[in-house]
């Protein structure tokens, strides 16, 4: 690890200012990706601006519109414990990493990093969530722009994420055996106006919506509705844990299982 300065502002405005002061500043959420990167000396920020001491960015609540609203610096453990209004989301949070990761890692950090195998992007995209930043509101459909790439501008902070609560939902995750990130995982959510299906861990473009499955499931919310569908392995991640074709196959299997398990 190279030496760096650490700031822990208590207000969003102060964090934004610290980040805009210098191009060498970098935001730090729970640090579950950034800290290992620093330890490997793969990054050399001059200053880290921790977002975990900002009370406005903490906690889970229910909006008047019935959305589950989660502060950007809320840990996975807190979401698992407090997002009971959206059981599939709470269960997803409870399955990220291990207790140490869940007690440090944050929803904002995960969404800002947009790891192609992370869990939260599937929930956000699968729920049509709204990503609230210090500057604006971004629809999930516009937010995810490819592996490790998002609509966030330099220095922009995710302050809150708002999840509309569906009638039924389920996150079906198939673990990569070593990292226990998603080898492939599928978030299925049934809303009054249709079904959303988000697949993570599979595509080289990061999390994506499987629109054919959404159409089929909107017409008939059952695993059988998927029987004629298939995803192509082209453009899917291929590595020592599985080929693109395997991931494409898994996405279909897991979508069916998520539908069957949706509550």
């Amino acid at each position: 690890m190279y030496a760096f300065d650490l700031e822990r502002p208590g207000r969003i405005a102060d964090a934004v200012k610290l980040l805009s002061d210098s191009e060498e500043s970098q935001p730090l959420g729970g640090g579950q990706t950034l800290i290992p990167t620093l330890k490997q000396r793969l990054a050399m920020p001059e200053r880290l601006v921790s977002l975990t001491a900002i009370p406005e960015m903490q906690g889970v609540c229910l909006s008047d519109a019935g959305e589950v609203c989660i502060g950007g610096a809320t840990t996975h453990a807190t979401v698992a414990a407090e997002a009971g209004a959206y059981p599939a989301l709470a269960a997803l949070a409870a399955g990220i990493g291990d207790p140490a990761v869940r007690n440090r890692g944050t929803i904002g950090g995960s969404l800002a990093n947009n790891d192609p195998s992370a869990c939260y992007p599937a929930a956000a995209l699968g729920s049509g969530a709204r990503i609230i930043t210090n500057a604006r509101e971004i629809a999930a459909d516009d937010y995810f722009q490819g592996m490790f790439t998002t609509a966030l501008d330099e220095g922009e902070i995710i302050t809150e994420v708002r999840f509309p609560v569906p009638e039924k939902a389920h996150y079906e995750k198939f673990d990569q055996p070593a990292s226990r990130f998603a080898l492939t995982a599928v978030f299925v959510a049934k809303y009054a106006d249709g079904v959303r299906v988000a697949v993570t861990g599979a595509s080289e473009e990061g999390v994506f919506r499987w629109s054919e499955a959404e159409a089929a499931l909107s017409a008939d919310f059952s695993a059988e509705a998927l029987s004629g569908l298939s995803l192509s392995g082209d453009g899917m991640i291929s590595d020592l844990h599985g080929s693109g074709a395997y991931r494409a196959h898994l996405a279909k299997v897991l979508t069916g299982r998520a539908v069957a398990a949706a509550r």
């Binding site: 000396r41 198939f174 055996p177 070593a178 020592l240 844990h241 080929s243 395997y246 299997v253």
Partner: protein, 790 residues
């Protein structure tokens, strides 16, 4: 009723108090006044010529005290192989020099070619990044088959080939085996890979050297399983520091599994650096360095043929194996695929013909050496997979085909067709026990239950025999070993009757500090808590060979027994004088020396006190003091054996394998501490199941280690494993050591992989996927799914 102390009791592991409360003292916990830090610069390419190394800038950086490159060690010796293997044509193996730091060429990713010593680790790291090395990358060779082709890139140009040796065992049996296979009514052929494993001890390797300019004495604190062997290698081969000026201390060590048997260049580097700068020099591997530079395990590519009669009677096993030794010969890399593998290729069976050919191959990968089981897992896996395949082809029950071919209890001692003399065993009894453990009658119901949930259930079984406590020195010397394979113990009875036992074995998880006192306590009739085990410090213990190959109790424990026998013999002389009786009339039982046929006796503690306060003492017949040393060189290997069974569920849609049940029936001979034995089996099973399902060491074609972190290298976790059924009630004591023990440390890792794979194949056949006859380990979901859909 179970015993509550002494031999046979499950005494709680006394060392666990410090391990579980964070009070263990490991190499990295030791802090010395004025200590400095070493950081190594490692190759990022698998094969390259070092054109130049510019250390000027690095040497001038803040805090930097010294910079070393391979040139600094060009004139010292190499780290040698401990066993010379001769090829079938009589030619000795190729043995290129393994330098302290790579010089002239780097040969694998992670090969260290420079080192920086600085006041802090961060300063050393900064300076290491400032070293400018020009390394001309050359094509790497990773695949063993390609490495043996003409025109392949060479790992060591000076030897002109990548083949280390081409070994036949037993060469005189080759023609008969070939003929038997040619004439056999049924031959089953299997090509398989025994996957390379990264050892992943919880504690990474670490070393700290201290040099005293006042006396010229060196001390090396290091993560070693055998400090005397490390000292010998450094003294006699590498740096030439006289043994009497070098103390090697291996304090608490957090797991080794073989990887800490060997001497590594980092140990020599910190010693040389400590001398040069006159201050202590320390180094602890990062986990990434461990992945790249610890000696890996396994890595065989094998073709095995089993010839048998239609009734399943075995006629011959013929094996051709390529064994990867990596870029350099680690200390026991040449013994592992040969004498610890080829000699076991008759298994538990009275098969008349066995022939094994092993080609050891250099590649641009990390060195490969013995890892928990060391050769015997490779032998067991090949045998027990091909037997399972043959049973399926012939329609014979997998346990029955094994029973038909077992060496029978009345045949011991039995010389196998691979040349070993098995002393005792009862393989049929092990299978009987196993069948009682696994509720085979209930299997079909469990299979139906799985099917109702969309899962395929399979049952896999196997047996194993292994060889522990490799010996005797006279024989292994003839076979090429360059070390002795005895061990040593000193029993020091203190004046007040408590006892220190200095042992050559090293405990890094095995529980010696608890089990050895149980032996001594029983023999001397004293409380086991009055006995302390001292190990791991060459200045305190007799010259022993350390701990590997499940040898500690069988070999070092026997030395403890012999030394304790000497204590009793001397105690009798002293007691005879105290009791005014003839020595021949003195009996010793339950801690009392007594005169036969009388009520005259004296306690062990009184005799000890007399030995150290020798007033009224027969000085002309007996020396004062009560301390004895014994060296024990076994007459033979010991031969633990077992029968294992595994039940898996396979999800045919995803290929995921879940181990639902696992049963292990082992014959370890006599058992000193059943709880420790059970724990050893549990740990071995975890590693064996890890190899079978999870652990995947992958180099790409350019020699980059793809699975170089826990993000991609899957270690077994608790929820990957079932609750085990473990039994060690079948006990045929070893006939040639005084404890009748055989060794239990590696059995689980040796015996478990084939039953896991056999179970998966059984499950797939039950699901109608009968085209799948084999899947190479690890049986990851993707591999199983691909096999189903191939």
């Amino acid at each position: 009723m179970p015993k509550d102390h002494g031999v046979g009791a499950s005494s709680a592991r006394r060392e666990d108090v410090r391990f579980l409360t964070g009070r263990g003292k490991y190499t990295d916990d030791i802090a010395l006044q004025g200590q400095t830090h070493a950081v190594f610069v490692r190759s990022q390419v698998a094969n390259g010529v070092i054109t130049s190394i510019d250390t000027t800038e690095a040497a001038a950086m803040p805090g930097v005290l010294a910079v070393f490159t391979g040139a600094d060690f060009a004139d010292v010796g190499g780290n040698p192989a401990g066993w010379q293997i001769n090829s079938r044509d009589g030619e000795p193996m190729k043995e290129p020099k393994r330098p302290v730091l790579a010089h002239g060429k780097v040969r694998h990713v992670g090969d260290a070619y420079a080192a920086v010593i600085a006041e802090t680790e961060e300063q050393a790291r900064d300076a290491a990044e400032a070293i400018v090395a020009e390394i001309e990358e050359q094509p790497a060779v990773v695949d063993m088959g390609k490495a043996l082709e003409d025109g392949s890139p060479l790992v060591h140009d000076e030897i002109g080939t990548n083949q280390c040796f081409d070994w036949g065992w037993i060469e005189d049996n080759r023609a008969a085996t070939d003929a038997a296979i040619k004439a056999a009514p049924h031959v089953t052929t299997l090509e398989l890979v025994n996957n390379r494993l990264v050892p992943n001890a919880m504690e990474p390797r670490a070393s700290m050297a201290d040099y005293d300019p006042g006396t010229g004495d060196y001390t090396l604190y290091t993560t070693s399983q055998n400090p005397h062997l490390t000292r010998l290698l450094i003294s006699a081969f590498v740096l030439g520091i006289p043994e009497n000026k070098l103390k090697v201390v291996a304090p608490d060590v957090g797991g080794g599994f073989g990887s800490k048997i060997y001497h590594y260049g980092e140990e020599a580097l910190v010693l040389a650096a400590a001398k040069k700068i006159g201050r202590p020099v320390r180094w602890t591997a990062s986990r990434s360095e461990s992945f790249l530079s610890d000696a890996h395990g396994r890595d065989h590519v094998t073709k095995i043929e089993l010839a048998c009669e239609e009734d399943g009677t075995f006629i011959a096993f013929r094996t051709e194996t390529m064994a990867n030794v990596g870029a350099y010969l680690s200390n026991f890399s040449t013994a592992t695929p040969t004498f610890l593998h080829g000699t076991l290729m008759a298994g538990n069976y009275a098969v008349p013909n066995v022939y094994v050919n092993v080609k050891a191959v250099f590649t641009n990968t990390a060195p490969v050496d013995a890892y928990r089981g060391a050769g015997r897992p490779e032998a067991t896996y090949s045998l027990e997979r091909v037997i399972d395949m043959a049973a399926r082809e012939l329609g014979i029950d997998p346990l029955e085909i094994r029973r038909r071919n077992f060496v029978q209890p009345d045949q011991f001692p039995f010389t196998s067709a691979a040349g070993l003399e098995y002393d005792t065993g009862d393989y049929g009894a092990l299978v009987d026990t196993l069948e009682e453990m696994i509720d085979r009658d209930g299997f079909e119901a469990r299979r139906r239950d799985s099917a109702a949930r969309g899962k395929l259930r399979g049952l896999g079984v196997n047996t194993y025999i292994e060889a522990c406590g490799i010996a005797p020195s006279n024989l292994v010397g003839v076979l090429g070993a360059r070390v002795g394979l005895y061990d040593a113990a000193t029993v020091r009875v203190n004046a007040t009757g408590n006892i220190a036992v200095m042992v050559g074995a090293h405990s890094h998880g095995q529980g010696h500090e608890t089990a050895f006192p149980q032996v001594v306590a029983d023999m001397l009739g004293v409380d086991e808590n009055s006995i302390e085990i001292v190990h791991g410090d060459t200045s305190k213990i007799p010259f022993g060979m350390g701990t590997y190959g499940s040898r500690s109790l069988a070999v070092c424990g026997s030395a403890v027994v012999r030394a304790t026998d000497k204590i009793i013999t001397k105690g009798k002389k002293i007691a005879a004088h105290m009791l005014e009786a003839a020595e021949a009339d003195i009996e010793f039982t339950d801690g009392q020396f007594s005169v036969a046929g009388t009520d005259k006796s004296v306690g062990f503690g009184d005799v000890a006190l007399k030995a150290y306060i020798p007033h009224d003492f027969p000085l002309e017949e007996v020396e004062p003091g009560l301390e004895e040393t014994a060296f024990y060189d076994p007459a033979n290997f010991t031969y633990p054996s077992g029968a294992y069974a595994c039940e898996v569920e396979v999800d045919p849609e995803t290929g995921k394998v879940t181990v639902d049940r696992f049963a292990a029936a082992d014959d370890f001979g006599n058992v000193i501490n059943p709880m420790i034995v059970t724990g050893q089996v549990h740990g071995g099973l975890a590693q064996g199941i890890g190899q079978a399902l999870l652990e995947q060491t992958t180099y790409d074609s350019e020699g980059q280690l793809i699975s170089a972190s826990y993000m991609d290298y899957a270690m077994p976790r608790a929820d990957d494993l079932p609750f085990y059924e473990v039994d060690h009630s079948c006990q045929t004591p070893c006939t040639h050591n005084p404890l009748g023990v055989k060794g239990c440390g590696e059995a689980g890792a040796i015996g478990s992989p084939p039953s896991v794979v056999n179970a998966v194949i059984d499950a797939l056949h039950a699901g109608g996927h009968t085209h799948v006859t084999h899947i190479d380990m690890p049986l990851t979901p993707a591999r199983v799914w691909s096999a189903i859909n191939s």
